[in-house]
């Protein structure tokens, strides 16, 4: 297989293998993790008999491989489950039901994804503006005071954990200055304006962490580009310094910035745990931490598969974009 379709197919096959192994790893790890799932689900004061009933109900007594087989079956052909009063069908790809709430994992994922996306995509705009802007400025103004200040600011972003930045931002901006309401997730479809206002601080906090990476990358690639021969060509033809920087040097940095961006977005969809927790955004990351703590295995597996999927997708997208942006690269 060659060319773009071949590339997509190879990536897809690779992704499936990766996701499969990922689900096995999660099953095994959480199998050996302490925590009596049935007891946790049943409640702390449940009697052994009751715990046993719950374990049966959730198939927790089956051997690991049987449980995993059920999971696979659900993914491939779907499965039926009982709500007590009726039997429901969970269509393939069915990731099972939460031990805790009985909700279908796919439903939970669909509910959480928009939140995580809202957070990450908005933050992306800010980190790109901030990071690339800083990078351009610091490549341009190398060694000057403005560059050092900017670099220090972005580094402070890396150095300070998000929960500190976020909380201090909230205390100052929402509490003391009362410039913004305390963030509270609003669906984009309900009220786009409120959606944006409420997410502004989470966006900023998340973006501040990532911006420094983009600043560094932009600066490094721009300096690399500026040292290249074609820059000399344009200077030798009287093209102004501004045009050289913005048109040529920055263009040289775009491929790697786009690639880093795709990868960052991919990992942040499920990885912005702390930001989601701090700001109370009901996204994938927050749900994952909750599920891990109560050993809600179906939810954990489902969420990890989703986040893993996005990481893999992001890497593939990064490659495609990188190749598209830098036509010299051939997809392999």
């Amino acid at each position: 297989m060659n060319g773009f379709p071949g590339f997509v197919l190879r990536r897809l096959a690779g992704a499936l293998v990766t996701l499969f192994v990922l689900s096995v790893i999660i099953y095994v790890v959480f199998y050996v993790t302490p925590g009596n799932v049935a007891q946790i689900t049943c409640g702390p004061r449940c009697s052994p008999a009751q715990v046993h009933q719950v374990a049966q109900q959730l198939h927790l007594d089956d051997p690991l491989y049987v449980r995993y087989w059920h999971f696979l079956q659900g993914v491939l052909v779907g499965q039926d489950y009982s709500t007590g009063t009726s039997v429901e069908h969970c269509a393939a790809p069915c990731l099972g039901q939460s031990y805790q709430t009985g909700r279908e994992v796919t439903d939970i994922i669909w509910a959480k994804l928009p939140v995580s996306f809202s957070l990450v995509l908005g933050a992306m705009v800010i980190w790109l503006l901030l990071g690339v802007g800083t990078g351009v400025l610091s490549a341009w103004r190398r060694g000057r005071l403005s560059e050092r200040v900017l670099t220090a600011v972005t580094l402070a972003g890396v150095a300070t954990p998000v929960f500190v930045i976020g909380l201090v931002l909230m205390i100052v901006v929402c509490g003391e200055l009362q410039l913004l309401p305390f963030p509270q997730y609003v669906n984009f479809t309900d009220d786009p304006e409120q959606w944006a206002w409420n997410l502004l601080l989470p966006w900023l906090s998340l973006a501040l962490i990532e911006a420094a990476g983009f600043a560094r990358l932009t600066r490094a690639s721009m300096l690399e580009t500026l040292a290249e021969d074609h820059i000399r060509t344009f200077r030798a033809y009287g093209v102004s310094e501004r045009a050289v920087i913005t048109r040529h040097a920055l263009r040289g940095a775009t491929a790697s910035v786009i690639a880093l961006n795709a990868v960052t977005v991919g990992s942040a969809v499920g990885g912005a745990v702390l930001t989601e927790t701090l700001f109370g955004l009901p996204g994938i990351g927050q749900e994952l931490v909750r599920a891990v703590k109560v050993v809600d295995l179906p939810v954990v597996v489902g969420m990890v598969l989703v986040t893993g999927f996005f990481v893999i997708l992001a890497n593939a997208v990064a490659d495609v974009l990188y190749a598209a942006a830098d036509r010299r690269v051939v997809l392999a």
């Binding site: 074609h230 030798a236 033809y237 102004s240 263009r251 036509r327 010299r328």
Partner: protein, 530 residues
């Protein structure tokens, strides 16, 4: 008033004086070549004409006037008006001299709009126009291509188009053909010549290749260590050099018509390739870099392999030493099929920079084959390495030096010493001198010849330079697109080539004599027209 007036130009980088009191002038429409080896400061002069040293920390003294602009005192704005509009520059490496991310037409349009207040659309039309003039077929469509979609020659044409766009009075060409194949080089030189006659612009050609200068200019200025050594009409200087350095330079240039003193090519066959084919890539993207090639090398004999880029000569060389396995066919060493590397078959690489590990002393690099063979006695190793260093013309005491402390020629000698350490019976030299200055080239070639005679080595000499190959080879294999085009005794191939491709190659080699150069240019034009 002359187009260029350089008086007492000095350029210093830190403590290094790259250009030292150089003066010259160039009349409207005239052509001057700055010729010199690396480090002679010739490119620095070219840059100084456009004020490119401004803001780089280099100290520039003397005065430079180009097309009425005093480059030294001009404001940034005035300098920008000079660049591209009155004097345009063409650089050595056409690939890296163009922005890989933009279409070629757009890049030309961009620089055109710096000087001409025209609309974007008009600038694009202009770009297509000049691309067409430099001979890019289907210019309107190709203007939308990016540099990597162009071949090397087309890129250099595009750079020339960029220079033409602003209708400059002066074209500064800095090694414009160095990175190109010989046939392409001829085409570009022809194009420059044609454009000059057409537009009447002046030309300042910077080159290390006397042959290129001979083809292109009226006057020549030979530079060394930042100073002018000799200057005058190109015919006169080349025919009767006044200065010893000029003479030395000219003598070192290999001539394609010089016969080689016969060598006793009678030994047994050391290395043999039979019907080898090597593919790269898989599936539909697979292509054969070398296809059905059979060659033999005998003891004490030199096989020259010539070809342009992409001809498969390096792949063939790597198969011969066992760094690559043939897909089809086999490599025989002393009659027996052999796979994998073999200390008895060594290689000398093209790039003296990348062929030595910069982090290891040269002595250690040379000692590698000894140690790999199991030698443990440090004293014996040092002794043998010292001997080898001496043998290749270096100092015994250089054992502990690092590669960067050596010049290119010296590094190539180290590479040869390392190959010799393995006590090889065959030596494959892949473009061993193409990265070297001509004078150095001659020395390395001489060393190889000496070693061959002394040790009875079977040599494979791979190069793109037909003249060098002729100088060293007993037999010659001409390759093109992976296949053997012509294969036979050197004199036969060079003096009475059978294949049209060989003829074409030979016709493209620049001649040192301007008159014969003009003749050959005319000859080249005929088949092109036909």
């Amino acid at each position: 008033m002359s187009l260029v007036e350089v008086t007492d130009l000095t350029v210093e980088f830190g403590t290094l004086r790259a250009v030292d009191g150089l003066s010259f002038s160039l009349a409207q429409g005239a052509a001057l070549a700055l010729v010199g080896e690396s480090g002679s400061g010739k490119s620095t002069v070219a840059g100084a004409l456009l004020g490119l040293h401004r803001g780089t920390g280099a100290r520039v003294g003397g005065s430079v006037r180009v097309a009425g602009t005093d480059v030294q005192t001009a404001s940034d704005e005035e300098l920008r008006r000079l660049r591209g509009a009155k004097a345009a520059m063409v650089f050595q490496d056409p690939l890296s001299s163009l922005d890989p991310y933009y279409a070629i037409g757009d890049q030309i349009a961009e620089v055109y709009r710096v000087h001409a207040r025209v609309t974007r659309r008009a600038a694009r039309a202009r770009a297509v126009d000049v691309l067409d003039r430099v001979g890019i077929p289907d210019a309107a469509r190709r203007a939308r291509s990016r540099p990597h979609e162009f071949s090397g020659g087309m890129r250099q044409r595009a750079l020339l188009a960029m220079a033409l766009a602003g209708e400059p009075d002066l074209l500064i060409a800095d090694e414009p053909t160095t990175a190109l194949d010989v046939t392409v080089q001829a085409q570009i030189l022809d194009l420059v010549h044609a454009l000059r006659t057409e537009t009447g612009m002046g030309l300042l050609l910077v080159t290390h290749d006397v042959g290129v200068a001979a083809e292109s200019v009226d006057d020549i200025l030979v530079m060394r260590h930042g100073r002018a050594v000799e200057r005058g009409p190109v015919g006169a200087v080349l025919a009767a050099p006044a200065e010893p350095y000029t003479r030395e330079l000219l003598d070192a240039v290999p001539r394609v018509d010089a016969r080689r003193t016969a060598s006793p090519a009678t030994g047994e066959v050391v290395l043999e390739a039979t019907g080898v084919r090597r593919e790269f890539g898989r599936g539909r993207r697979a292509f054969a870099a070398v296809d059905d090639v059979s060659v033999t090398v005998r003891r004490g004999e030199t096989l020259g392999v010539v070809g342009e880029s992409g001809s498969g000569k390096t792949t063939l060389g790597r198969m011969l030493v066992g760094l690559l396995e043939p897909t089809v066919g086999e490599i025989r060493y002393e009659g027996r099929p052999h796979t994998g590397v073999n200390p008895a078959v060594q290689m000398v690489f093209q790039d003296p920079v990348s062929s030595l590990n910069p982090r290891r002393s040269v002595g250690e690099s040379i000692a590698d084959p000894l140690r790999a063979r199991g030698e443990r006695d440090e004293e014996r190793i040092r002794g043998r390495v010292a001997e080898l260093l001496e043998r290749v013309g270096l100092d015994r005491a250089h054992y502990d030096r690092y590669p960067h402390e050596f010049s290119g020629g010296q590094r190539q000698r180290v590479g040869i010493a390392r190959a010799l350490a393995a006590e090889p019976r065959a030596l494959v030299c892949d473009e061993p001198v193409s990265a070297l200055d001509v004078t150095t080239q001659a020395q390395v070639v001489a060393l190889l010849g000496e070693l061959q005679r002394e040790l009875g080595l079977a040599l494979v000499f791979i190069a793109h330079d037909l003249a060098v190959v002729r100088q060293v080879s007993d037999r010659v294999a001409v390759m093109r697109r992976g296949r053997l085009v012509e294969y036979g005794p050197a004199d036969e191939v060079y003096d009475s080539p059978r294949e049209p491709y060989t003829k074409q190659l030979l016709a493209a080699v620049p001649a040192l004599d301007p008159e014969s150069a003009a003749r050959r240019r005319a000859a080249r034009r005929e088949p092109a027209a036909a």
